[in-house]
Point group: C2
């Protein structure tokens, strides 16, 4: 096992373990922090400055060119150049963060509230006590202080008592034009919201402090619906029956509930202190969460039940947070381009940059969005769950025990999430390993894994030892089984799954560019989103053909779980929420199967590109 | 018993039984139709034209002066002059109705929809069926046709199926910006609403066709909370305890539910065809209906929980109509000036006329509102429930068996509601009888009922026979007991109750006029509202001192149950609803007990005026 080092990011307080030699930008990504690299890691923009304490590598020539001697001596480095060489603390200035994260995670730290404007807000009020000269009704008295908000019966029923018990002082919890609650004392400092990315395979939840806009806890779990099938279509089939729908709805509520429980525990927040919850997921997941029959999503023309975002009582969904909290479910574009994609468009500010931009969101399905000036094309491909580790023999989600990075150089190195024995491969590890096997000739361009007796001459002892036959089929043993671990093996069928996934995505990109009348070279920015573990390395992504050739590396950006980020944005910013609504309706939904070229492009894209 | 005649009003279809000799305007009032008499019945304005078929009285000199020979021959008469002389059909043109009723009952008949603009509306839509070229989500497809309405989960959950079962045609039921339902087929012709006046003693409900604005059924019942006490204060006391509150809430829901059941039965309307319900009641009744602790209404400074109208799901109140119907509960002005008064202000268009106007709403309490230009003063008096027949030994509500009109002339005549044996006295009968007893000297100016041995000389045989001692106290036997009837007797204590009620109201009027710097002579219009049976006769109301002396008869108008009328207006017109909201906030709430003159005025007003 290679050497791992603990890296702590300040002021966020996140700690991760990474392989020594890992670029700081990648390590930060693992910690949930997306450092902005507008120059694509070429060290030309100097935007990604960080300050490292503890073990610091010697600066590269590029760093020496961009930073002063005093800065270098003070620990300043460029995150795109500098690598982790041992345990250290990395201070990430907010100016170095990707704009997406800057808005919600960082502005809160500056204390500025201009950019953090959640729908939910609290206001402490001290009202005049009523008298015969001033017998204004209780609710009107409060409304005079907080505005003409609407109140449900529950709140009105307890308002009078709370006002009198608190000497006509207390805290109004408000959302939009609704009075959610009136609480005794000053609770303005306690106001939380939860944001969820509901994936077909993985569900991630984040708890945010809506006063500061800061994330205070994050947690994820397998979507427990998986036991009914790992792909979207099997869920649609089951959910088309009322009993099945109820079963699936119950499962996702269980998963969300258990994550909420852990988030609250981590941050010592009461469930009733969560006043709003946002959900971004693919169209099917959002339908199932809402208990809406997904049958139409399973047959032509794949029509969703709703388009605009749903703002409904969380209690109606069956979610136990504040009893009058609202749930915001993201708008959807089409049957297979859902709220998760819209959320990603929001958090990456897609289309707000200069020139054509492409976003590829890799989950169980692959969604592709192309933005050109004020036009948007959105599409989805049945990429399969390979990038989430599903249908891969040793595949797994990006959790403890997952190999999430593989490097062949002088030997075979890999990095395991959680600093434990390896248990399987997550998406990024799968991409890395396949790319390295292609480079070393153990897998050929049509995806055939060579058996031990056909290995190329220069393969070397270390590789040759690991190329085996498994049940008569070629396989590659990345990690030998030990007493503690079953070992990690890549098989021929795993390569095929990956080919299907990358081929579908690449063909989709090609079709969208064609419809917009653009070529790959026109793209100014390519955003790769997805919760597939750590970041897929640019060169490996291109080596396996996930992205078409001809895209300059500097234009490729990894934005991590952009869907979760968008759900968080919608929670802390009504502007972001409105932008999602706007983008969803602006997007033109492209059904790839209708394009006569798609099948040909798909077949072609299945072949790994020449290097 | 005197001769009764059946009178049917067209085009409303209402039939009533009245004493022959009853003025047409009064008979119409009994049928729920308020004929406008701007000249106060002086036959000078000619506004109250009606056409009578069947038995028609000979025209009076006044009628001959205002109507042509051809008109007279055609059955046209003035409702303020003409009397019922036998069975007949009275055709009431919409132009002859009081403006209040004109708006809601009549405009619908003309087919004009400009004045009937309910919040609830239905729209039949035929949408394009989806295709791969047009895969717009179901709800968005509908929203494109009906506007960007919000929809709850319930509706979205069944929308897809209903659209497909109906070939993408169906009827959207909408209220404000909410989609209440999407129904199969074209149901635009079926759209109902219910309006309720929740009195402390009596609850009246009306079912309206929201397409035409027409009332299709009306029903009333005793507020079953009465078994816990007949006045507001006893309800407040009980409701201040959570268990008591729940008991009272359950009772009023029972009463409302039973009325709704009968309304639906009468009009052959399904409960789920009622899409909105409005409630006007005094502040306490509205609190109890909503399950809001009324404790603050029972102690200084009598602060209501809410002021603005409440628009809440009817299901939250526990009312079983359409599952997503909204309930609108009227705005309140103060602890004892409630939604019923606001509703009355709306339906009488108080303050929209020329010059100062006074409205007196006589129920269990008496509310008084004075409008002068754009100023409003509102107050309430603890008039007691005498006018609703409560606390009167033979008192009863204005239902079948109630004597609602009494005349002493050549003999003693009375009219009984429902053409049955008399059972008791309702408010108007009580006023008539007391006025007649005052005139004949059987009751003196301080309210003392003379015993048989002190009767004045000119009392006559018929009266003398009925003046008796009952348990040693003077009493007047209006109707002798028979096999079918217990008889109807007025006692000394009944006169005292009436004195308290009229005294409180008259003192309140005096104080309000004083605060506004006006005298009785300045009033251009005095509106008497209340559900006390038929109309109290102007001269009798002044004889017993309900209204201060010095108001010209022509300026006094009876507007019936103005609270129910206002609740109906709010149902059929969002403009009326908004006007209620405006008036409630405009009104200055006057607490009479704070006026140092009130007790003195009250004591003085207890004495019956000299004739």
């Amino acid at each position: 096992m290679d050497q791992q080092a603990r890296v702590t990011f300040e002021p966020h307080g996140r700690a991760v373990f990474v392989l020594t030699g890992t670029k700081v930008v990648e390590a930060a990504g693992r910690g949930g922090l997306t450092i902005d690299t507008p120059c694509g890691g070429a060290a030309t923009c100097g935007k990604c400055r960080v300050r490292i304490r503890g073990k610091v590598c010697a600066p590269t020539a590029e760093e020496r060119a961009r930073l002063s001697e005093a800065e270098l001596a003070d620990g300043w480095r460029l995150a795109c150049q500098s690598s982790i060489c041992g345990e250290c603390i990395v201070e990430v200035p907010e100016t170095s963060l990707f704009a997406g994260q800057h808005q919600i995670l960082e502005d809160a730290q500056t204390g500025s509230e201009t950019d953090v404007l959640p729908a939910v807000r609290k206001q402490y009020v001290q009202l005049a006590e009523p008298s015969l000269d001033d017998d204004v009704p209780d609710l009107l008295r409060l409304q005079a202080a907080v505005g003409p908000v609407e109140a449900g019966l529950d709140v009105i029923r307890h308002l009078g008592r709370r006002l009198r018990e608190g000497g006509f002082a207390g805290t109004a919890a408000l959302t939009d034009h609704h009075l959610i609650d009136f609480e005794p004392g000053d609770t303005t400092g306690r106001c939380h919201g939860a944001a969820f990315d509901i994936g077909t395979t993985t569900v991630v939840g984040s708890l945010l402090d809506l006063v500061t806009g800061r994330e205070v806890a994050i947690d994820s779990a397998m979507n427990s619906q998986v036991r009914f099938g790992d792909d979207v279509l099997s869920r649609i089939e089951l959910g088309s029956d009322p009993a099945g729908l109820e079963e699936l709805r119950t499962e996702i509520l269980k998963t969300v509930g258990s994550i909420l429980g852990r988030l609250c525990e981590q941050a010592r927040v009461g469930r009733e202190e969560i006043y709003e919850i946002t959900f971004a997921g693919n169209t099917t997941m959002q339908h199932l969460l809402c208990g809406i029959d997904p049958a139409q999503l399973g047959c032509v023309p794949f029509v969703p039940a709703y388009g605009r975002s749903l703002i409904i009582p969380a209690a109606d969904l069956g979610i136990a947070i504040h009893p009058r909290a609202q749930a915001v479910v993201f708008p959807v574009i089409g049957g297979f381009v859902g709220g998760d994609t819209v959320a990603g468009m929001v958090s990456t500010r897609l289309g707000e940059g200069q020139g054509p931009e492409l976003m590829v969101d890799i989950g169980t399905n692959g969604e592709i969005v192309l933005a050109v000036e004020d036009k948007l094309w959105a599409s989805s491909t049945a990429a399969g769950p390979a990038f989430e580790g599903a249908r891969i023999s040793c595949g797994m989600r990006a959790t403890a025990g997952a190999i999430e990075k593989v490097v062949f150089d002088d030997g075979i190195h890999y990095s395991v999430i959680g600093h434990v024995e390896p248990v399987g491969l997550c998406g990024s590890g799968l991409v890395d390993l396949t790319a390295e096997l292609l480079r070393s000739g153990l897998v050929n361009s049509v995806g055939r894994m060579l058996p031990p007796d056909e290995l190329p001459d220069g393969a070397g002892e270390a590789l040759a030892r690991r190329a085996v036959l498994d049940g008569g089929q070629p396989a590659f043993v990345l990690a030998e089984p030990t007493d503690d671990s079953p070992g990690v093996v890549l098989r021929q069928k795993d390569i095929r799954e990956l080919q299907l996934a990358t081929g579908a995505i690449r063909a989709g990109i090609t079709i969208l560019l064609k419809q917009a009348g653009l070529s790959v070279g026109d793209l100014k920015r390519v955003l790769i989103a997805g919760g597939f573990g750590s970041f897929i390395r640019r060169n490996n992504a291109q080596r396996i053909g996930l992205l078409p050739p001809g895209i300059d590396h500097s234009r490729i950006h990894y934005v991590g779980n952009a869907s979760l980020a968008g759900a968080k944005w919608a929670l802390v910013s009504t502007n972001a929420r409105n932008r999602g609504e706007h983008l969803a309706r602006l997007a033109r939904h492209v059904e790839l199967s209708r394009d006569t070229d798609f099948q040909m492009e798909f077949a072609e894209a299945m072949i790994f590109p020449d290097q």
